[in-house]
């Protein structure tokens, strides 16, 4: 049965059967599909995900070890110390971190990502991370990921040596829109950290934040730029406008546009772990969450985010059972 939309027919052959992701112009065509084509786009994206990634879903928990007071000016972020945000600086102690790792593992999650709101880690933070990794590895059976901002080569090597198997560093938005969103560092600096992480043998988690006022063309540009990096994982965030940030008055992204983006990102990156991340509750709600999981998503962040709350863990885990999607089992890769 054909969808009646040329780009979806092309994608069926190119992505599903041949395993080649859509190019930027093709991604844009998917993002511009009419509303009535969204179910067909999601269905194809789901088939692509099953074909190239399998049926299982990767579950991860994330936690902030150092909240707030960041010197960078990412306009979407409530943790920047440059904005009049209500988020106060706070450090999490290691026993609480280990406790959270245990709780996360108890949900069946295989990933636990430790995040710090920094430009890049200093010696104090690196020492904390080393201690945290040792404690978690001693007490919890879970893979550890980190997100600590921009790294030096030495820090990349240290994290790899300590057993961090995945490092998160998002592109966030298209190169052409990045200067509208961040002025304290460059796109190239972000790419540099991403490249070093891959070269060191860690899995690269490199995500997107859409709904920040970028054009549809820039959304396609971002998907293509992410695909070119070939990250192991792409967390897909939808802007949750935070009080006190420059984007606090940005309207919440339309749910249909979010679903188009899910399908388009999957068709651009057929083999990548595509994770539901922040903002989905606001943008998509319960129904949209289900549609996305049946439309190319194959990973979720379980429970809360760094400064905001997510859906209850049980709600997502029950949904995975209902959809017959097994949780990916732990494979210690390093």
């Amino acid at each position: 049965m054909t969808s009646g939309y040329a780009i979806l027919e092309t994608a069926r052959k190119q992505v599903l059967h041949e395993g080649r992701g859509l190019r930027e112009a093709q991604i844009l065509e998917v993002l511009n599909l009419p509303d009535e084509a969204i179910p067909a786009a999601l269905q194809l994206a789901h088939e692509v995900r099953i074909q190239h990634c399998g049926e299982d879903v990767e579950v991860e928990g994330i936690i902030s070890i150092k909240t707030g007071g960041c010197p960078e000016d990412c306009h979407f972020c409530s943790q920047s110390g440059l904005f009049d945000s209500p988020v106060r600086g706070v450090w999490l102690d290691i026993p609480e971190l280990v406790k959270a790792a245990k709780e996360t593992a108890a949900t069946g999650a295989t990933e636990f990502c430790i995040v710090a709101a920094v430009r890049g880690p200093d010696i104090k933070l690196m020492n904390q991370i080393k201690f945290a990794i040792d404690r978690i590895n001693a007490e919890v059976d879970i893979n550890i990921a980190c997100s600590l901002g921009m790294l030096t080569q030495r820090q990349v090597d240290q994290l790899a040596e300590w057993g961090v198997h995945r490092y998160n560093h998002n592109l966030e938005t298209a190169r052409s829109y990045f200067p509208e969103v961040v002025t304290t560092h460059t796109y190239e600096e972000r790419l540099e950290t991403c490249r070093m992480v891959k070269d060191a043998g860690m899995e690269l988690c490199c995500g997107a934040l859409i709904g920040m006022g970028e054009t549809v063309e820039q959304r396609a540009e971002l998907a293509a730029q992410l695909a070119a990096l070939e990250p192991h994982e792409v967390p897909l965030n939808f802007l949750n406008p935070r009080p006190g940030t420059p984007l606090e008055d940005q309207p919440i992204m339309d749910g249909k546009d979010a679903l188009r983006a899910i399908a388009a990102f999957r068709l651009a990156m057929p083999r990548t772990v595509l994770r539901y991340a922040g903002g989905r509750e606001l943008t998509l709600g319960d129904l949209g969450t289900r549609e996305g999981l049946l439309g190319g998503i194959n990973a979720v962040i379980v429970g809360n985010y760094l400064t905001t709350l997510g859906r209850p863990a049980d709600a997502d885990l029950d949904l995975l059972v209902e959809l017959n999607m097994p949780i990916r089992e732990l494979q210690k890769s390093l």
Partner: protein, 85 residues
């Protein structure tokens, strides 16, 4: 954890609420009726922890974990939900 008995300020935006006293309650509570002008704040507090102490408007130290959150006011103690409590 200390009891906080008077809800004077919105936990989301920190602005003053209409005076209402809820003895023994831990503000903000989704069971409370929204205060005029803060209905949207009440909705947001279902999706994020409070940032301001409802008694004194101090910004609280908030730690979110995957399964819970805790918000500490230096004067009025800690509010918490889920595994962080």
């Amino acid at each position: 954890m200390q009891e906080v008995s008077t809800q004077l300020y919105c936990g989301h935006c920190g602005e003053r609420l209409g005076e209402r006293t809820t003895p023994g309650a831990h503000p903000p509570s989704s069971a409370d009726p929204p205060s005029p002008g803060h209905e949207r704040c009440e909705q947001r507090l279902a999706m994020e922890p409070p940032r301001y102490c409802a008694s004194c408007r101090r910004r609280m130290k908030v730690q979110v974990t995957p399964m819970g959150w805790a918000a500490e006011c230096s004067r009025h103690g800690t509010l918490a939900a889920g595994a962080a409590s």
